[in-house]
Each structure stands twice: as structure tokens, then as C-alpha cells.
């Protein structure tokens, strides 16, 4: 509780305004939690109970077999090992992709907003336009290109693809964050003789911690949840968890086991969820403010 240092007055007692504030938050929380509630109760029901179609009803008996099946027993094709097989692949793809793209994005945002070399706005415009292309269109040419440089169906290949497709998003966020940094800060440092990289590493990066957290969270989620790129570029040995999730959930003519589907979905989301929860301490106000004053 005391980890955060919010601005404004410290409330000494519950005023009408505070009550209204909490009421708003609680109602909003209910809206956000309702689907999760439905998912969790569905995952704990048997299929016979699910067929009755009462989606908000509590399960008559708790049945966790769907969770076990989802994790270690669900079939995809002739292999029945659940979604756990993709777990480490997802990590191997996501962690380097996030680290690389966040670093490049921070450098880009910093260079584009505070240095503005020749062509900066052209590049930024290009990235934004690129970010608006439905990425399915990229598949054919990218597949050919990756095959030509021998990176198709490889871990390095899928990481490269994620970094490239992440560029518009990360660049945009960092650029708009650094734009609001006081110009004087950069100027003063330059007068002191600091160069491009020194200002970046010693002043800008520490200052941008909340934004780095946000961008990493977004990139992590986006890449972790990506299905199509992983399916097309990663190759059989590196398929991410979402491909297994799709194999469990998606079917046209096969029977559906909704309880397993729900469990598998929640299991797939657990890592990003944990990151959201644990990132709390990085939202502490003061890190940024300190850097600005320094």
C-alpha cells in the first residue's frame, strides 16, 4: 500500500468523493471480471453441465480434470501432451523479441524526438503507415525473404519477424514519451559534453522506466499471444503455446470441450498476467521525477 507515492492530498477520512471513487472502481472491476468469472466456472464444470447453458451458474461439483487435460493431456493431431510443450518455446521466442524491440524502440524514440536527424519525420511516417498494413499481407513476401536468408523455420527468424513488426508500436510509444521531456535537459547535457549514447543511457533510459515497463508489457503480451506469425515462421520445433491453444480450441467438425478450452486459455495467459501483477513496483512515482530533477 505504501509502496506508491501518489500526488495530491492524503485522505484522512472517507469523504463522499472517496466513496464515489471506490464505487466507480468496484463497478468497473465487476465489468472487467465478469467474463473471467464465466470462464473459470465453465472450466470447472463437466461437459454435461455446460450443455445446460447456464453460463453464470456455479459448478455443481468442482471438476479440475479439464485443467489437467489442458496442461498435459489434450490432443493435437496424434500427439496428446497438452499445451505445456509450447510453454518454453513461447519464452524462447518472447523474451529476446521483447528485449530487442524495446531497446531498438527506445533508441528510435529518443533519436526521433530529441535529435531529429535528417529524414526523421519521413521515417516516422513510414513506420506509422507500416503499422497500419494488415500484417497478413506481409506473409508471402516475408516467407520468401526469410527462406532466402535461411532463417525460415528458425528461432532467430521468428524473433526477427517479431522485432520488425513491433517497430511501429514501440517507436511510437517511446517517441511520444520523449517528446514531453523538457528540451533543456538534453541541451544542458550536450553543453556538458555528453554525446548521443551517454545521454541516452545515463539520463533518458532511467527516466523512461515507467514507459519501458508499459512497452515491455505490451510487447510481451502481443508476442506471447501471437499465433499466426509463430505458426508460419517459427517452424515445427519452436511452435509457441498459442499454436497448441489453437489446436485445442479451434475445430470445425470435431467435438468441442469447452471446459478444456477455458482452462487452456487461462493457462496460456498466466505468464502475462503474472507480469502485469508484478510490474506494480515499477509504477512507483518518483523514479521518473528524481531523474528529471537530477
Amino acid at each position: 500500500m505504501a509502496r506508491t507515492h501518489p500526488n495530491g492530498p492524503r485522505p484522512t477520512h472517507m469523504t463522499a468523493g472517496r466513496i464515489g471513487l471506490y464505487a466507480f472502481l468496484v463497478i468497473a472491476a465487476l465489468f472487467f471480471l465478469l467474463p473471467l468469472y464465466a470462464m473459470i466456472v465453465t472450466s470447472l464444470k463437466t461437459m454435461d453441465e455446460i450443455r445446460l447453458g447456464r453460463i453464470f451458474a456455479l459448478p455443481e461439483t468442482l471438476d479440475i480434470s479439464a485443467w489437467i487435460t489442458a496442461w498435459s493431456g489434450a490432443c493435437m493431431g496424434t500427439v496428446c501432451v497438452g499445451i505445456r510443450t509450447g510453454f518454453w518455446n513461447s519464452f524462447a521466442i518472447t523474451v529476446p523479441s521483447v528485449a530487442l524491440s524495446v531497446f531498438i524502440g527506445a533508441v528510435n524514440g529518443y533519436a526521433l524526438s530529441l535529435w531529429r536527424p535528417r529524414g526523421a519525420s519521413v521515417l516516422f511516417g513510414l513506420l506509422m503507415a507500416g503499422g497500419l498494413i494488415p500484417y497478413q499481407i506481409f506473409l508471402y513476401p516475408m516467407v520468401r525473404a526469410m527462406a532466402n536468408i535461411d532463417l525460415y523455420n528458425s528461432l532467430a527468424g521468428i524473433i526477427l519477424v517479431h522485432v520488425i513488426f513491433g517497430l511501429p508500436l514501440v517507436t511510437l510509444l517511446f517517441r511520444n514519451y520523449f517528446v514531453s521531456v523538457p528540451e533543456e535537459l538534453c541541451k544542458a547535457a550536450r553543453v556538458d559534453g555528453a554525446g548521443f549514447w551517454r545521454i541516452f543511457f545515463e539520463i533518458m533510459l532511467p527516466m523512461a522506466v515507467p514507459m519501458i515497463v508499459v512497452v515491455s508489457m505490451l510487447q510481451f503480451t502481443g508476442i506471447w499471444n501471437d499465433f499466426l506469425l509463430g505458426l508460419v515462421f517459427a517452424g515445427r520445433d519452436n511452435l509457441p503455446m498459442t499454436v497448441q491453444l489453437n489446436n485445442i480450441v479451434n475445430t470445425t467438425m470435431g467435438e468441442r470441450t469447452y471446459n478444456v478450452n477455458m482452462a487452456a486459455t487461462i493457462l496460456t495467459a498466466i505468464v502475462p498476467l503474472a507480469i502485469y501483477f508484478l510490474s506494480g513496483r515499477w509504477f512507483v512515482r518518483g523514479i521518473a521525477a528524481g531523474a528529471v530533477k537530477g
Binding site: G77, R144, R236, N247, I248, V249, T251, T252, M253
Partner: protein, 410 residues
Amino acid sequence: MNKKMKLFLAGVALVATLAPVHAEDKPTIEIMSSWTSGGESAALNVIKTEFEKRGGVWKDSSIAGFGAADAAFQNRIVAGDAPGAKQGVIGLAAADFVNQSLMNPIADVAAAGKWADALPKSIYDLISYNGEVYLAPTGAHGESWVFYSKQAFEKAGIAEEPKSWDEFFAGLDKLKAAGIVPVAWGGQPWQQTKVFNMILLSRVGIDGFLKIYVDKDKSEASVEGVKKTLEILGKLRGYVDDGAAGRNWNDATAMVITGKAGVQFMGDWAKGEFTVAGKEAGKDYGCMITPESPGMVYIADSIWFPKTANAETDNAQKLLAEVVMDPAVQLEFSLKKGSVPMRSDVDKSKLDVCARKGLELMTAGNIVPDQAIVLTPQQVGLLDDFVDEYWSSGSQDAVSGAENFFSIFE
């Protein structure tokens, strides 16, 4: 083929030859299928087990969902890294791949196994392109089925299966009066198109159906048939519940299983849901062919064999083709998947009552192909659009609807 295309394909072939060749003693094959649900997976396992028994090595690359599987497969081809086998429907969807020499024929296996004698002629023709056999059929699904809840029929006082559309609608009225949802409707385009086809077959007969879809015939009789079909389809709107739009077929099946709804129009894969719920065909639920229908619409799955520029894989492909068409495998596969075997010489006694009905129609040749077999993927999409638009707009104008129908062939 134009020059650019040749260049493109040459590039594909070049990349393929550069791909590392795995030196393995046993015939190894990577198979891409979209069979991932319980019954499908078990059925695929039948083929795998036999393939391994005969010395093959099986690598599974299953991707669920037609869209995702197609995307993955097509991109593998573009990258020059085609898998050794791919599961797909027989018919025009494979034609483009064959015509661009991206697939291996399996004519010698077919000749040695006397496939021409074992398969219905229409199927044999559909797996052959330019006179050579390219696909190994796994099984067929009947798509002219009406599944009904015996419990609901009893409650509504329907004594026997309705034979005509008039009787059918009278039955639906009784179900409605008994407070039961008459039709468990899955309001997704592909499901609706299947219902459209079932009705169409009952209105125009087998020859009329083939005339429309194969010859793209727009004669008065064809237009009239489509019109009558749309009238029945339109009438069905009055018998579905509020929640029909966008519903998955298995949610609709669940309504029949629990007795909330009376009937469902669906392919025979719906039996899988009944079986999982512990219901038995002929006892808890019934299966009848669409009223007044002279036969059955079917869709057939097969294994495709893409070119891989790897002699080892070519051998594995031949072995796989043999295994797929093995009589015992055909039967066991269909039992697991709820489909109908392709070969007419299998032991019928093990099949359930619905599958037996289906196999009878099949061996008698009273079958017509699903649109996915005879239309290009593009036309299939337009047909889905057409039926969905008619259904969900609530249009009563079957006359101009029937006119519009034929624009999908343009």
C-alpha cells in the same frame, strides 16, 4: 504458365533443393492435418499406427482450423519447404496445386491397389487430375442429416419420422406448441450453406443438383429449384430461437442432446457430440435424411502429397497412400471419426445405424458432392455469402434470390 510464374516456382524448387536433407533409413513423412479434436485425433492415430507398423516414421504437424492450416501450408510451399502430406478435401481446392506441378501423383499405388474397383466411380474421378490419381481418400461425411431428439419428439407427440416437408413443418409446429425450440440452428455461414444444399437436393434431385453445381446450368428448372429451396429455408426462420445467430454447431447439438430443441440439420460429424455425451444413435436420438431427399450430399477428406524434392519422402508418400486405403484402416478410421468409409468392400456390421444408411446411399451412388468439392474456393465463399445474406436479411423474395444465386458462378 507465364514466365514470371515459372520463375517463381523455379525459386520455390531451388529453395526446396537447398533445404537440408535428413538422412534417415526409414521412410519419414511429416503430415499436416487440421484434425485435432478428440474423435479426429483418434481417427488420425489409426493411420499413424498402421503407418508405423509398416516401418514408417510419422511426424505430426497438426494445425486446427481450416484458415490457419491453409495459411501454414501455403506458406510452407512458398518457402520451398512443403510437408510430405497434407490433409484436405478432395476436389477443386487441390486442383490449383496439381496444375502448378506442386503435387506428386500416386498413380502406381492406386493401380496396384485396384482403387478404381474399390471406390465409387464419382470419387475415383474426383481424386484424379488429368487422368492420374493424386489424392488418397480417407473417408466421407454425409451432410444431408436431420438429427432429432427422441425425447422431444415424444413430448411433442410426433410418432414417426416425417417423410415430406409438409409433415416436417407440421412436426415443427407440434414441437413449438410443446414449448420446445423446433430447430437448433447454427447461424454461421458454412452451416447455413449446408442446410441450403440439403434442401436443394430434395427439391431438384441428384441430376438437377449436379447440373447446377457442376454444369452451372441456369435453366428454368434450376432457377425454379433454387426458388423452392429458398422458400423452405425462409420458412425455417420461424422455427429457430433468438440465440441462433453465430452459434457453433456443437452448441446447437447440445440443445438437441438436452432435449431443449427438436431437430438439427448437420453433417454426420455431429454424432461425435452425441457419443461424447453418452447418447446412442437410434435409441436416444434419431438420424434421418432430409425430407424428400433422393440421396445425400457428401464431403470427402483425403491426403494430398506435395512435391518435396526428396526421394525418401516420395517413398514415404507411397507407403502412406497404401495405408490410407487399406480396408481395415478405412473402417477403423471411420468408426473413430464418425464418417463413412470410402471403400465399398468394408465390413458394414460394425457401423452404427446412421453410418449404415449413409454407406447404402454411397454404394448405390445416390450421392452428390458438397460445394467445396466442385466449386473453386472463391465460389464457395460467394455461396456462403449468398445464403447468409438471404437467411439473415429475412428476405421473403425467393424469386430474385434465385436469380442472384447464379451470380456466384460468374
